[in-house]
C-alpha cells in the first residue's frame, strides 16, 4: 500500500513486534488511526482497529480508554493528523495524561494528499504548497508533548528499527500519555521536493543527523541546529487520567455514603 522507501511500514513492523514481545492479544488491543498514509496502517492489522477522521484519532481513543481502561489503546497518526489539523487534541491528551500510546509518523508533509506543507514542515523547505520554501516554522512534536504533560516521550527513525521497537515497548508499558515520534522518509513527496529523491537519501539524512539524546544534549546550541535527538527524551510518572478520576470517584462516593 505504501510507496517503496516509505518509512511507515518499518514503524508498523516495530509496533507489531513490540505487541508480540509484550504478549498483547488482538482482543485486548485497539489501534486507532487517523487519515493519511499513516492512518491506512490499520488495513494490515488483525487487532481491533478504529479508522477515524483526519486529526481526531486521539479524541476517539480518549473515549475508548475512559470507558474501558483495560484495553491497550495505541494511536497511529501522521504529522498532519497529530499536530496540524488535530493539534488541539494532541496537547489535551498529553495534558490529561490519559493512558494512551501515540505513535506519530513525522514525514514533514501531508503524504497522502500530495506533499503539501504541514505543521512540521521545516522552515525553508519545499512542498507542493511552498514551491519557494516554507515561510513558517515547524513544531517540535516531542517538545510539545513534554510541555503539555506527557509521561513518556521518545523519538526514533526507521533507520534504527530495533531501537524503535524497544522504545515503542517502553511507551506501551508506560502508564499515562506516551508519545513515540518517528521521523520518516516520504521519498515520493518530501524527499523528491527536497533533493532526497532516493529513499536511501532521507535515511542517510536521519542517520547523520540523529544523535542519541545523551550525546545531543552535550552539543552547543549552534551544533544542535544540525542534529536532532533520538531515544528516550522524557520519562516521568505523574498519575494518569484514569487514576486521578478513580481517586475522585472513590472520595466522592465515600463522602456521599458518609
Amino acid at each position: 500500500m505504501w510507496c517503496s522507501g516509505c518509512g511507515i511500514g518499518v514503524m508498523l513492523g516495530a509496533m507489531l513486534r513490540a505487541f508480540e514481545e509484550l504478549d498483547y492479544r488482538n482482543a485486548d488491543t485497539v489501534v486507532v488511526t487517523g487519515i493519511g498514509c499513516t492512518g491506512k496502517s490499520d488495513d494490515y492489522l488483525l487487532t481491533n482497529a478504529l479508522h477515524t477522521t483526519h486529526g481526531r484519532a486521539l479524541a476517539y481513543a480518549t473515549g475508548i480508554k475512559a470507558f474501558n481502561p483495560k484495553l491497550h489503546v495505541v494511536v497511529l497518526m501522521g504529522d498532519g493528523d497529530s499536530v496540524t489539523i488535530g493539534g488541539n487534541h494532541f496537547i489535551h491528551a498529553a495534558r490529561r495524561n490519559i493512558d494512551l500510546t501515540a505513535i506519530v509518523i513525522n514525514n514533514f508533509n501531508f503524504g497522502m494528499t500530495g506533499g503539501q506543507a504541514s505543521g512540521t514542515t521545516p522552515g525553508g523547505s519545499f512542498t507542493s504548497t511552498t514551491a519557494w520554501g516554507n515561510p513558517e516554522r515547524d513544531f517540535d512534536i516531542c517538545a510539545l508533548a513534554e510541555v503539555a504533560g506527557a509521561n513518556y516521550v521518545a523519538r526514533e527513525t526507521p533507520y534504527h528499527g530495533w531501537e524503535l521497537k524497544e522504545l515503542i515497548k517502553e511507551a506501551l508499558n508506560k502508564k499515562g500519555f506516551s508519545l513515540v515520534e518517528v521521523f520518516s522518509p516520504c521519498p515520493t513527496h518530501f524527499g523528491k521536493n527536497n533533493e532526497m529523491k532516493e529513499p536511501r537519501e532521507m535515511l542517510d539524512w536521519f542517520k547523520e543527523r540523529g544523535l542519541p539524546v545523551e550525546r545531543y544534549r552535550k552539543l552547543s546550541a549552534e551544533e544542535q541546529e544540525n542534529h536532532f535527538a533520538i531515544g528516550k527524551l522524557v520519562d516521568r510518572d505523574a498519575p494518569d487520567f484514569n487514576t486521578r478520576y478513580e481517586e475522585i470517584r472513590v472520595r466522592a462516593t465515600a463522602q456521599k455514603a458518609g
Binding site: 477522521t53 483526519h54 493539534g87 503539501q116 514551491a131 513558517e136
Partner: protein, 388 residues
C-alpha cells in the same frame, strides 16, 4: 479576445480565481481538491497575483482566516471538499451573516462513512441552509465561468453574500478539458474592484459578529433570507451580461429538448452531459425525453422551475445525496414542494444515483426514463441499481 486552452479543470479553477485578482487564498488540501490548493499557492508564490496564500492548519482555520481577511476588505478565495466542507460547517453560516462575499471552490466528494474519496453531493447538501449562494457547474468551462461570476455576484452591493461553486470531484477537477479563458482586461471590466460595505479599519472602527439577543436574532435571520432570495435577480442579471460578453448562456435551470417532452430527467452537476446523451438516444427511439439541469441550487429558482416543467408529464429527478428517513433526495424534495401549489403539475419519481462515485452511464439514464414513464415507482424513492 480570450484564448482556448486544454487544461486540468482544478488548475483552471485556480487560474479563474487569479483572473479575479484575489488578495488572499486560504486553503487546506483534500482529495480531490488538492490541485486547486497547490495551484493557488503556486500562483501566489510565483508572484502572478499580489496576494497571500495561507497554509492553514485545517479547513476550520481556512474559512475563519478567510473571513478575517474578508472583514478587512480583501477579496478572498478558499476551496475544499467532503470532510473539509463539513469541518467548515460551523463557520459557514457566520460568513453569510457577516455578509462577507468569499468565494469557495468545492470539489464535491462523498462524506464518511465509510470513508470514500469519490464524487457525490453529500458534502454540500448538509450546507444547504448556511445562507451561501450555490452554483453547480456541469463542465470545466462552467467551473471557470462560474468562478468569475461568483465574485461578481457575491460582491454586488445588493447581494454581499458568500458563493460556492460546486464541481463534481474527479469528474471535473481531474479532467483536462478545452476551456475558453477571457482576457485579463475583459475580466477587469466585468469584475470591478471590490468595495466592501464595512471593514475592520482603525480609522472607522466597527464591531462584527456580536451577540444577537432574542429581540434581534430573528430579524437577522430574516434579513439574511431576504438577501439570499433577492440575490436571484442579480445572478440572472450577471448571467445575461456574461452571455452578451462571452456568448455562453447560463440559466438557473437549463432545459434540454423539453419543448414537447413527455418525461424529463432532472440533474445537477456533471451528469447533465451524460443525461443529454441519453435523451438524444431516447429521442432516436421515438421516446419524447427531455432534461432539466439545475445550475443554481441556492437561492432555489422556484419561478424558473415552474416555467420549465410546463407540459411535462413525468419528472425523473436524480439526487446524488441521501436524506435518511426523509422524503427522498434533497433535490427531489425541493422540487416536489416547489410544485405542490400548482394545479397542473408533473408526476415526480426520484432516483438516488452516483453515490460515492458509483458510475452512471447513459444507458442508466435511459432506463430511468423508461421506468419513470409509468409515473410511479414501487417505492417513494429508489436507490437506482443498488444491491440489498
Amino acid at each position: 479576445m480570450g484564448k482556448r486552452v486544454g487544461m486540468e479543470v482544478a488548475i483552471a479553477a485556480a487560474e479563474a480565481a487569479a483572473l479575479c485578482k484575489f488578495d488572499v487564498a486560504s486553503v487546506y488540501p483534500i482529495t480531490p481538491q488538492s490541485h486547486v490548493a497547490e495551484h493557488l499557492a503556486d500562483i501566489v508564490n510565483d508572484g502572478r497575483v499580489d496576494a497571500s496564500f495561507i497554509t492553514v492548519e485545517s479547513e476550520h482555520s481556512a474559512l475563519s482566516s478567510a473571513m478575517g481577511a474578508s472583514a478587512t476588505g480583501a477579496r478572498v478565495v478558499t476551496a475544499t471538499s467532503s470532510q473539509g466542507l463539513l469541518y467548515m460547517g460551523e463557520v459557514m453560516p457566520i460568513t453569510s451573516s457577516m455578509r462577507l462575499p468569499i468565494v469557495m471552490l468545492i470539489a464535491n466528494r462523498a462524506i464518511s462513512g465509510p470513508i470514500n474519496i469519490w464524487n457525490d453531493h453529500s458534502d454540500i447538501m448538509p450546507m444547504r441552509d448556511t445562507g451561501w449562494i450555490s452554483f453547480f457547474a456541469e463542465n470545466g468551462q462552467e467551473v471557470v465561468d462560474m468562478t468569475i461570476q461568483a465574485f461578481r455576484v457575491g460582491e454586488d452591493r445588493r447581494v454581499m453574500l458568500p458563493v460556492n461553486v460546486n464541481m463534481d470531484g474527479f469528474q471535473l477537477p481531474h479532467m483536462v478539458e478545452p476551456i475558453f479563458f477571457p482576457d485579463q482586461e475583459e475580466v477587469d471590466r466585468f469584475l470591478p474592484e471590490y468595495v466592501p460595505y464595512a471593514t475592520l479599519h482603525p480609522d472607522r472602527p466597527v464591531s462584527m459578529g456580536t451577540l444577537g439577543m432574542p429581540e434581534i436574532y430573528a430579524e437577522a435571520q430574516k434579513a439574511k433570507d431576504v438577501a439570499v432570495v433577492n440575490s436571484i435577480k442579480v445572478v440572472k442579471e450577471v448571467w445575461k451580461e456574461w452571455e452578451k460578453l462571452f456568448g455562453r448562456k447560463y440559466e438557473p435551470i437549463q432545459s434540454y429538448r423539453t419543448r414537447d417532452a413527455d418525461v424529463a430527467l432532472v440533474t445537477m452537476g456533471s451528469m447533465g452531459e451524460t443525461a443529454e446523451i441519453a435523451v438524444d438516444a431516447l429521442r432516436k427511439q421515438g421516446v419524447k425525453a427531455g432534461l432539466l439541469k439545475i445550475k443554481l441550487w441556492r437561492p432555489f429558482p422556484f419561478a424558473e422551475l415552474k416555467k420549465a416543467v410546463k407540459g411535462i408529464r413525468v419528472l425523473a429527478v436524480t439526487d446524488r445525496a441521501c436524506s435518511f428517513g426523509g422524503p427522498g433526495g434533497p433535490v427531489c424534495s425541493e422540487i416536489r414542494s416547489a410544485l405542490y401549489e400548482e394545479s397542473v403539475r408533473p408526476a415526480i419519481v426520484n432516483y438516488l444515483i452516483g453515490l460515492g462515485g458509483r458510475d452512471v452511464q447513459a444507458e442508466d439514464f435511459m432506463e430511468m426514463v423508461r421506468r419513470a414513464a409509468k409515473g410511479k415507482l414501487s417505492e417513494p424513492y429508489e436507490f437506482y441499481g443498488v444491491r440489498g
